[in-house]
C-alpha cells in the first residue's frame, strides 16, 4: 500500500496521464463488452465508425470547449447554439458562394462565429444582463436571422465541391490538434489566459489590479463563437446539412454538449481543461456510438437517449459526492480519536 502511494507520488505525470486516458478507455471497454455480447458487433465496427467518431469528436470537443470559455467564469451562455447556427449558415454559404471549398467554409464560419460571439459579448458588457437571460433573448434574435438567411435553406454541404476534406481523417486530426494547441496556448500560456484565470477566481480583485475584465469577457465570447462555429461545420459535414431552428430549439445543442464538458472538467483536475474536455468528449462519443449499435437489436433512439442521460445523471451524482467518501472516512477516524480521548480522560479522572 505505502509502496503504491510512494510510486504514485513519484510519477505524478504518469498517473495523471493514466487517469485521463483511463476514463474514455473504460467507457470504450464497457461499451465493447456490452455491444459484442448482445449484438455481436464491435463498438468501432469499421472505418466508417472511426470517421464518424472523429468528426463528432472534434465537433463536440469544440462545442464543449466553447461553452467552457464562459461557463468557467460563471457565465452560462444559452445563446451559443444560436451563434453556431448563425455562423455556419451565414459564413458557410458565403464561402460556398465564393467557391472556397471545405476550408473556406470552416474559416468563414469561424470568422462569422467570432463576429456573432463578439456581438453577444459586446451586449453583455454594456447591458450587464445576466448571461443566461441575455442568452435567451439573443437566441431568439439569432435564430430568427439564421432562419431568414439563405432563403430558409440553412447550410447544405453535401455534394458541394471541395467539402470532402471535412470528412478527411487526416484533416480532422490536424484541425483537432491545431485547436488543442491554440486553445491550450490561449487558456494556459497567453496573457489572455492568465487574466482569464484571475477573473475566474475573483473578478473584482482582477479588476482592481488593472485587468480589463470587459475586454477579457469580450474575447471569451469571441473565442466561444469561433469554437462553436467549428463545431457546427463538422456537425454539418456529418449530417450533410444544417437546418435552421426556431423557438429556442438551438438551446438543446448547448444542453447536450454540457455532458462532455462536465466530464471534461472533472478529468481536467488531473491535466488541463483542454485535454480534459477532449478526453471527456471522447468518452461521451464512445458511449453514443456504442449505444447506437443497440439499434441492431431494436433499441429505439428514445431508449438510447434515456440511457445516455441516465449515465450523465449517475456521473453527476458521483462527481458531486466523490468527496463525501473521504469525509466519511475522516469522520470515522475523528470519532475514534474522540472516543479514545474520552476514555483516557475517564481513566485519569478515576
Amino acid at each position: 500500500m505505502s509502496k503504491w502511494q510512494d510510486f504514485r507520488r513519484k510519477h505524478v505525470l504518469l498517473m495523471n496521464t493514466l487517469f485521463t486516458v483511463a476514463v474514455p478507455l473504460t467507457v470504450w471497454l464497457v461499451m465493447e463488452l456490452l455491444d459484442y455480447s448482445t449484438t455481436g458487433l464491435h463498438t468501432m465496427n469499421s472505418m466508417v465508425d472511426w470517421t464518424t467518431l472523429m468528426r463528432n469528436l472534434v465537433s463536440s470537443f469544440c462545442f464543449a470547449l466553447g461553452l467552457n470559455c464562459n461557463m468557467a467564469l460563471g457565465r452560462m451562455d444559452t445563446s451559443t447554439g444560436s451563434q453556431m447556427f448563425l455562423a455556419c449558415i451565414l459564413g458557410g454559404n458565403l464561402a460556398l458562394s465564393l467557391n472556397l471549398g471545405g476550408v473556406g467554409v470552416l474559416v468563414f464560419s469561424m470568422l462569422l462565429g467570432m463576429v456573432a460571439g463578439a456581438f453577444v459579448g459586446f451586449l453583455f458588457i454594456n447591458l450587464r444582463i445576466l448571461p443566461m437571460v441575455l442568452g435567451l433573448g439573443i437566441s431568439l434574435v439569432y435564430e430568427c436571422i439564421s432562419f431568414s438567411a439563405n432563403n430558409q435553406q440553412g447550410l447544405n454541404l453535401f455534394g458541394k465541391p471541395g467539402v470532402g476534406i471535412l470528412s478527411n481523417r487526416l484533416f480532422i486530426i490536424g484541425i483537432t490538434v491545431l485547436i488543442m494547441l491554440v486553445m491550450t496556448y490561449l487558456f494556459q500560456y497567453s496573457p489572455f489566459g492568465y487574466k482569464r484565470r484571475a477573473i475566474q477566481g475573483n473578478q473584482k480583485l482582477a479588476n482592481d489590479a488593472g485587468i480589463n475584465i470587459y475586454v477579457n469577457a469580450l474575447l471569451c465570447y469571441t473565442a466561444a463563437g469561433a469554437l462553436v462555429a467549428v463545431a457546427g461545420v463538422f456537425d454539418t459535414a456529418y449530417k450533410s446539412n444544417l437546418v435552421p431552428v426556431l423557438g429556442m430549439n438551438s438551446n438543446s445543442t448547448v444542453f447536450s454538449n454540457m455532458f462532455p464538458m462536465a466530464v471534461g472538467l472533472w478529468l481536467a483536475k488531473k491535466s488541463n481543461p483542454v485535454i480534459g474536455i477532449l478526453a471527456g468528449s471522447l468518452s461521451v462519443q464512445f458511449l453514443v456510438l456504442g449505444l447506437a449499435k443497440f439499434t441492431n437489436i431494436g433499441m429505439s433512439d428514445y431508449m438510447q437517449t434515456c440511457i445516455k442521460y441516465s449515465v450523465w445523471l449517475v456521473f453527476m451524482i458521483y462527481r458531486m459526492n466523490e468527496d463525501k467518501i473521504q469525509l466519511i472516512k475522516d469522520k470515522r477516524a475523528r470519532v475514534a480519536l474522540a472516543k479514545a480521548t474520552r476514555a483516557q480522560r475517564a481513566a485519569v479522572a478515576a
Binding site: S46, L123, N126, K239, S240, T295, N296, D301, K308
Partner: protein
C-alpha cells in the same frame, strides 16, 4: 463619462436593433398588401386566411411564396402565416389570434383534429386540413358545416410509384435487405405515415408477402423492428426523429452490418444520410440504393448530380410533391367554402367532407430531374398549379365545380401533363 457613453451606445444599439426588425417587417408587410390590392381583379370582400404551419422547411418557404406572390394578388385574398407551431395548443392559440385579426378561414398543416374544427365552427370560420381522414374519425363523423375537407397525397398512387420502382430495381427474391426509415411516423407525422405505409404496401405487393402484423400497426412502431413475414425477407423499420443526435449513428450502425442494399426513407432525409451512406458504400464496397421523399430544390439537383463511390447518383429514387398542386387544392377548398358552395364543392357523393388527393411525381434519374427544371420555382414564380389550373378549381371562375371534378383534375397531374402545362 466613459460609462455614460457606453450606456448610451448600448441604448442606441438596442434601439437600432428594434428599428431594423420593425423596418424589416414593415416593408415586407406593406409590400404584400400593396400588391394584393393593386392586382385584385374581383371585387367584394377580401378574404383573410390563416395558415398554420408545423415546420419551417423549403416546402413551407415555397408555399409562402405561392400564396403570397401568386394566390393573394390573383384572387384578392390575404394570408396570415403562423410561426412554427410546436403542438396542438399552439395551433389553437394561433387560430384564436387569427380570428381576433379577422380571419375568415384557417388552413391547418399541423393538426388534424375535431377540436380545431369545433373552434372554427364556433367562430364561423372555414377550416381546411392537410392530412388523411383516417387519422381523424371525429372530424369525419362529426357535424362540421364549415369544415371543407382534407387535402393530401394520393397514397395509392404513391404506393404505386414505390411499387413500380421496387419492381424494376429489386431482385426477384428480395434478398438484398430493406431498411425503411419510418422517421416520425410513430409520433403521428401524417406524411411519414403515408409514405411508410406506401413502402410496406409496395413491398407486400411486389413479393406477395403476408406480414404477421397489420401495416397500420407496423408504421407506428417506436423501436427498430424487423418485420416478420412469411417469406423471411429482411425488412427493418427504423423510427426516430432525425433531429436527435442518436438518429444518424443508428442508421450508420444498421447500414454497417452490410445486410441492407436498399434504404427507403419516408421523410426528407436523403440529404442528411448521404454522407453516412457514401461512407458505408466506400468502406464495404457495396451499392446501397436510396429512395426518399424530396421537394424541388438545389439540394435535390445536387443529390442527383453527385455520384457515390459506385458511380451512381447519391440518391436513386425520389418522390416529389408538386407542392403548388397541394397548395392549390387546400386554397380551392377554402375559397369555395368561403364563397358559399361548401355543400357542393367540398363534400363527396355521400355528403361527407371531401378528401382531395393529388399525385406525387417520381424521379429516378438526372435526366428525369432535368425535365422538371423550373417547376414550382419560387424565385421565377413558375408554378405547376398556375392560374389556368387554379381557375378550374374555383367556383368564381368555374361555377360547376364539384369535389369530384377537383379530384379528377388533380388525378390528371403527372410528369407529362405538367410538362405540357408548363410549356
Amino acid at each position: 463619462m466613459n460609462k455614460i457613453l457606453k450606456r448610451m451606445a448600448a441604448g442606441i444599439l438596442t434601439g437600432a436593433l428594434c428599428l431594423t426588425a420593425f423596418a424589416g417587417c414593415g416593408s415586407t408587410g406593406s409590400g404584400s398588401q400593396g400588391g394584393s390590392s393593386a392586382d385584385g381583379e374581383t371585387t367584394g370582400k377580401k378574404f383573410v386566411i390563416g395558415v398554420a404551419e408545423a415546420q419551417a422547411n423549403d416546402e413551407v418557404t415555397t408555399r409562402r411564396a405561392y400564396f403570397e406572390n401568386f394566390i393573394a394578388p390573383t384572387y384578392n385574398v390575404e394570408f396570415i402565416f403562423s410561426e412554427v407551431l410546436k403542438d396542438d395548443a399552439a395551433v389553437k392559440t394561433f387560430i384564436e389570434n387569427c380570428i381576433d385579426s379577422g380571419a375568415d378561414a384557417i388552413i391547418d398543416f399541423k393538426s388534424n383534429s375535431s377540436q380545431m374544427a369545433r373552434l372554427c365552427e364556433e367562430n364561423g370560420v372555414v377550416y381546411t386540413v392537410q392530412g388523411i381522414p383516417d387519422m381523424a374519425p371525429d372530424l369525419m363523423e362529426g357535424e362540421f358545416p364549415l369544415f371543407s375537407g382534407w387535402s393530401g397525397a394520393n397514397n395509392d398512387h404513391l404506393a404505386d410509384l414505390f411499387r413500380n420502382w421496387l419492381e424494376e430495381n429489386t431482385s426477384a427474391d428480395g434478398s438484398e435487405g430493406f431498411l425503411v426509415s419510418t422517421s416520425l411516423a410513430s409520433q403521428g407525422n401524417v406524411q411519414h405515415i403515408e409514405v411508410s405505409r406506401a413502402i410496406l404496401e409496395g413491398l407486400q405487393e411486389k413479393y406477395g408477402l403476408t406480414y404477421e402484423q397489420p401495416i397500420e400497426d407496423l408504421v407506428y412502431v417506436s423501436e427498430t423492428t424487423n418485420v416478420a413475414n412469411d417469406k423471411g425477407l429482411l425488412i427493418t423499420l427504423y423510427p426516430g426523429s432525425p433531429n436527435k443526435d442518436t438518429w444518424l449513428p443508428g442508421i450508420s450502425s444498421l447500414l454497417q452490418s452490410g445486410k441492407y442494399k436498399m434504404f427507403l426513407s419516408s421523410g426528407q432525409t436523403y440529404n442528411q444520410t448521404a454522407t453516412v451512406v457514401n461512407e458505408v458504400e466506400a468502406a464495404f464496397g457495396i451499392d446501397i440504393k436510396v429512395a426518399s421523399i424530396a421537394a424541388f430544390s438545389t439540394t435535390l439537383d445536387t443529390a442527383f448530380s453527385t455520384l457515390d463511390p459506385n458511380g451512381n447518383p447519391s440518391v436513386d429514387f425520389v418522390t416529389v410533391k408538386p407542392s403548388s398542386v397541394l397548395n392549390a387544392s387546400v386554397f380551392a377548398a377554402t375559397y369555395n367554402a368561403l364563397n358559399g358552395v361548401i355543400d357542393t364543392a367540398c363534400r363527396d357523393e355521400n355528403g361527407k367532407p371531401a378528401n382531395f388527393r393529388f399525385n406525387m411525381i417520381s424521379i429516378s434519374s438526372p435526366e428525369e430531374l432535368a425535365k422538371t427544371k423550373g417547376w414550382d420555382d419560387a424565385e421565377a414564380g413558375t408554378w405547376i398549379a398556375g392560374k389556368e389550373f387554379v381557375d378550374q378549381m374555383l367556383v368564381t371562375t368555374n361555377p360547376d365545380v364539384t369535389a369530384a371534378s377537383i379530384n379528377e383534375l388533380m388525378a390528371s397531374v403527372d410528369v407529362d401533363s405538367i410538362a405540357e402545362m408548363m410549356g
